[in-house]
Each structure stands twice: as structure tokens, then as C-alpha cells.
């Protein structure tokens, strides 16, 4: 469904003395319908840049992203672009930054109707928003009409996922969706992704530094290090037989709950 071909991003900084940073270095992968994969790497590994290029927020320096066989940078009309953003949707790390603090929080749900082609009446919109909130296990009366600062991190992140529930995108790119969410509500949020996958065959790309999340959720894990995909395998393979030294170090250094470190 989505194919990333030789994707490369070079950032240029400096005015007089130009310096270049190779953020993403020729990566290749593909995502099938209904598949959940994870891009795992530490900060600076290029994983967020990759997400931004897939979402068409950043133009790649070279290489391309193909969605259903079409290059996403070759779209000519606004309609094509709108349709792409309807089908490939992003969820971000800080659910606070996604909201405009001056407006009520539910505005973010009504805005998704702008991406839709067909006209939907106001009463239908209300009903759809309500249904989406209920599917997210949010009580509509607790979140509708409230301002973003009155909601908890978990509630805000659920509202972001509620957008996906209304839009039913084919692919969700979730960039660190749990990092601002408390432990006790994390599992509930992960369940929402699985429900979307089971019900609508939504594919998900998790972009995360958390190998635990990747191990728990995905069918395939891609480990990124310094802009390159250094390892690609199933969660079980990565954990039991990591190939790349970086993956091995990562696994050794993650604090576990069942086992204790021997070298501390």
C-alpha cells in the first residue's frame, strides 16, 4: 500500500559556512493493508523526519514515497492532496501542540470534515463526533465544549485518535503517541489502534524510541540508527537474536520489569 523508496533527507544549516546533515539515508520499506510496523530509534536517528516525509510535510531530498502506486509528491490538484491526507493521517507526540488553545477542543474533530468530499449535515457531524468519542471511551459531555487545557494528556490523545475514527484513514503514522500519556491509560490507547486495525484494516506505522511499545504492538520492527535502517525483523527475532550492535546495545540498556540487570 505504502512504499518508501530510497528515501533521503539532507538538512543544510548555516549561512556562510554551509553544513549538511544527513538525517535520513536512503531507506526502503513497505507497509501492507492492516499491517502494524514500528520504526524504532533514539533521538536524532531520523525517524521523525521519515514520518514527516511520509505525511508529506517535508519534501525528500531524493527518493520517493508511493501510496497505492502513486508518488505523493507528484499530486497536481488540491483534491488529490486532500484525498491523500484523508487516507494517511498523523498522530503526534504532544497532543497539546495539536490543539489551538484559543478554541474549544472538539473543534479539532469538526475540522476533519473539511477533508471530506461529500457534504455532511451539521446534525450528522454532531452524531459522528459523538460516536467517535464514545468509541474512544471518552464521555462526550466531559470533553465537548471544553478547552484543551482542561483536558488530561490521555483525553487529548484519545481525541486525536477519534479523528482517525471519523476519517477511517488507510494508514496512521503515529509519532511517539504514548510519551505524554500516563501508564495506566496507555494500554487503553493502544487498544484503540488495534480496534481500528481489526475493524477497518487500518495500517499503522509507530515511530518510537520505545522498543517495548514496538515489541508489543507491531508485526515488524525496523531499527533506525543514524538515518539508516540497520535491522528489520519480527519482534521475536529482534529480541531473541538482534543482529546489529546498535540493536543489541539498545536491548541491553532498556530497564525491564521481569528481569534485573546483571551489570549494575
Amino acid at each position: 500500500m505504502l512504499r518508501v523508496v530510497n528515501l533521503t533527507k539532507v538538512y543544510t544549516t548555516g549561512f556562510l559556512r554551509r553544513r549538511t546533515v544527513l538525517a535520513v539515508d536512503g531507506i526502503n520499506f513497505a507497509v501492507q493493508e492492516g499491517e502494524i510496523i514500528s520504526l524504532v530509534g533514539e533521538s536524532g536517528s531520523g525517524k521523525t523526519t521519515t514520518a514527516q516525509m511520509i505525511l508529506r510535510f517535508l519534501p525528500p531530498t531524493s527518493g520517493k514515497v508511493e501510496f497505492e502506486g502513486k508518488d505523493i509528491w507528484a499530486f497536481k490538484t488540491k483534491k488529490e492532496l486532500k484525498s491523500y491526507w484523508r487516507q494517511v493521517h498523523g498522530i503526534f507526540q504532544d497532543p497539546y501542540a495539536a490543539f489551538n488553545p484559543m478554541y474549544k477542543a472538539d473543534r479539532i474533530l469538526y475540522q476533519v470534515f473539511n477533508l471530506m468530499d461529500s457534504h455532511i449535515s451539521i446534525s450528522d457531524r454532531r452524531r459522528l463526533v459523538r460516536e467517535a468519542l464514545e468509541a474512544m471511551k471518552l464521555r462526550p459531555e466531559e470533553v465537548m465544549g471544553r478547552y484543551p487545557h482542561q483536558l488530561s494528556g490521555g483525553q487529548r490523545q484519545r481525541m486525536m485518535i477519534a479523528r482517525c475514527y471519523i476519517l477511517k484513514p488507510k494508514l496512521i503514522v503515529a509519532d511517539e503517541p504514548l510519551s505524554m500519556v500516563d501508564a495506566s491509560v496507555r494500554a487503553g490507547i493502544l487498544k484503540l489502534f488495534l480496534e481500528l486495525r481489526d475493524r477497518y484494516k487500518t495500517a499503522v506505522i509507530f515511530i518510537t524510541h520505545d522498543l517495548g511499545l514496538a515489541y508489543y504492538m507491531s508485526q515488524r520492527i525496523l531499527v533506525m540508527h543514524r538515518g539508516k535502517v540497520v535491522e528489520e525483523a519480527t519482534p521475536e527475532e529482534i529480541l531473541s537474536a538482534p543482529q546489529h550492535p546498535y540493536t543489541r546495545r539498545l536491548i541491553e540498556d532498556i530497564p525491564l520489569i521481569v528481569r534485573k540487570w546483571v551489570d549494575i
Binding site: 488530561s152 500516563d182 495506566s184 487503553g188 517495548g212 508489543y216 520489569i257 540487570w261
Partner: protein, 328 residues
Amino acid sequence: MNTLLVAKDVKAYYSSPKGFVRAVDGVTLDINPGDVVGVAGESGCGKSTLSNVLMMNVQPPLKFVGGKLILEGVGDLAVMERQKVKAQVWGKVIALVPQSALNALIPTRKVGAFIKDVLGYHLKLDARKASALAQRRFQELGLPVETLAKYPHQLSGGMRQRVVIAIATLLNPKLLIADEPTSALDVSTQKQVLKMFLHLKTEHIVRAIVFITHDIAILRQIATRIAIMYAGKVMEVGPMEAVIQRPVHPYTCSLIRSVLTPEPEVKERGLSHLAGDPPDLLQPPAGCRFHPRCPQSMAICTQEAPPVVGLGKDHFVSCYLVLEGCQC
């Protein structure tokens, strides 16, 4: 051995126009020499407030409402004057590494110069002695001595955090309180910082550590005891192994089972989650504060707060299910 710090029924509230926010509401905690006490809880449970209250760093809008804080060899901090606590206790007996301590260094001052300021203030040491002391300590802790001649922006995040911890413990405090010291670091740097904490203890630079974090997996690696906080109260406290193997409070169970670590056991048993959000501490629920989210809540839980019950050595739980145990 005497207990280093005894916190007894400590209450500290924030005053707000709408009333008191009961951030720390009746916390009892013993800290013994040799302990690494982990305080775990979610955002808004009062754990950061507790880190300040334990050293009596209480300033409006935070108000110390009641309880005792008995520090070995000093007395009850709660009744001492703030000036006296500041002069005699902070930095010398109890040191704090606050949240985002990464930013505690002054950007325009080299690390060595910053240390001279600190030691000059506390011990009236002259520059030469201060720099000798700093060099010796950095060597002891395995930090490169060249760091002293660098500005904070020249150091990596992990190095800055280690430098801040080294500075906080320059005066050999008996107790080090650290609030989320590793949450901004990637896992490999995090491990180095955790090693440094244990190193401080084995080198007898500090005698006990209170480590505040939301990440139980970290505590599993370094803590000897763990206290689980929820809505301003300690729900369960006990030896790390006992709590992790046989948690009693339903909140402890669900918190342990919500940890996402790459381990087959975790995937197999599945993650647990709680419905709803933590309560508003302006009007905490009556009875047990956890009852609105508790999967095993009973009629009595909504009316009366459960007593604190001792279970074997140093293991205390505040739950009516103490005899049955939680069912998860």
C-alpha cells in the same frame, strides 16, 4: 541503625482560589541508611511535591499542613525555621536533584566556576580548595576532569545530568532526593546515570536515595524499596522484590501490568489499563481515593478510607482487600 528520615502523616496542600489542592495528604515513609526508595506514580499524584516536602522546601502556594519530618541528628524539620533548615540541612544533609536539573547549570559559567560559587557559598572555601575538591570528586565518580573547564552547552544531556548530580552531592549529603532524573535521556545514557546513583551509595558519598519516577521498570533495577503513590497518598510501600512479585493493592497491580517492556512475559499476560483519569485533588473522592477507578471496588471503599495494614516486614498496604489480595 537509626532511620535517616521519618515522614509521619505528612500533609502539604497548595492553596488556590478554589480551595486546597491536597497534593500530599498523609504520607508516612521511613528512609533507612542503605535504602534506595523508589516513589512511583502517575502525573499529578503528588510525587514531585513530596520530593520538596521531604526536605521541607515548602513555599507558597504550597503549605505544610501537618505531620512530622524527623531527620536523624537534626530533629523535626516541620517545626524548624525555614532559614535554619536552609542553612543547616539543604545540600549538607539532604540534597535535591530537581526535575529538569539538566538546566540547572548557568549557561555563561563554566562547570568549574559554578562549583566554586557553590562551595564558596556553603563552605566559604577559596577557589583553589574548591577546585581541588571538585577534581577529586569528579575522579571518584568517573567523570572526565576536563568537564570542569567546559560550558554547559558543550556537554551532552547525559553528561550534564551527571555533572548536576555530582555537584548536588559535593558536600556528602546523607540523603539524596532525585526527581525524574533520567526521564529526558535515551536508554543508554539513562543506564549510565542510574549506575552513577548506585556508585554514590557504594562509595559512601550518600547513605540513602529517594528516587522519584513514573517508570517502575527503572525502580525495578535500582530500588530496594518502593512506594506507590496515588492522588496524594501512599497506596502500598514495601521491599521492591515483594511488591513486584506479590503486589497487593489493585492500583499497584495495574501499574506494574501497564509497564511496556520488551519481554515475552509482558506480551503474554497482556497490558492492563484503568478507565477514567486520576481524581481532582481539589475534591478528592470520599473513602479510598482509588475507588472510582478500582476494578474491585466494594461498598465500603466509597465511604471509609481503608486503614494502613502491615504485611510482613516493612510492607504496608492501604486497601480492604489486604487479606484476599488483588485478583490480577
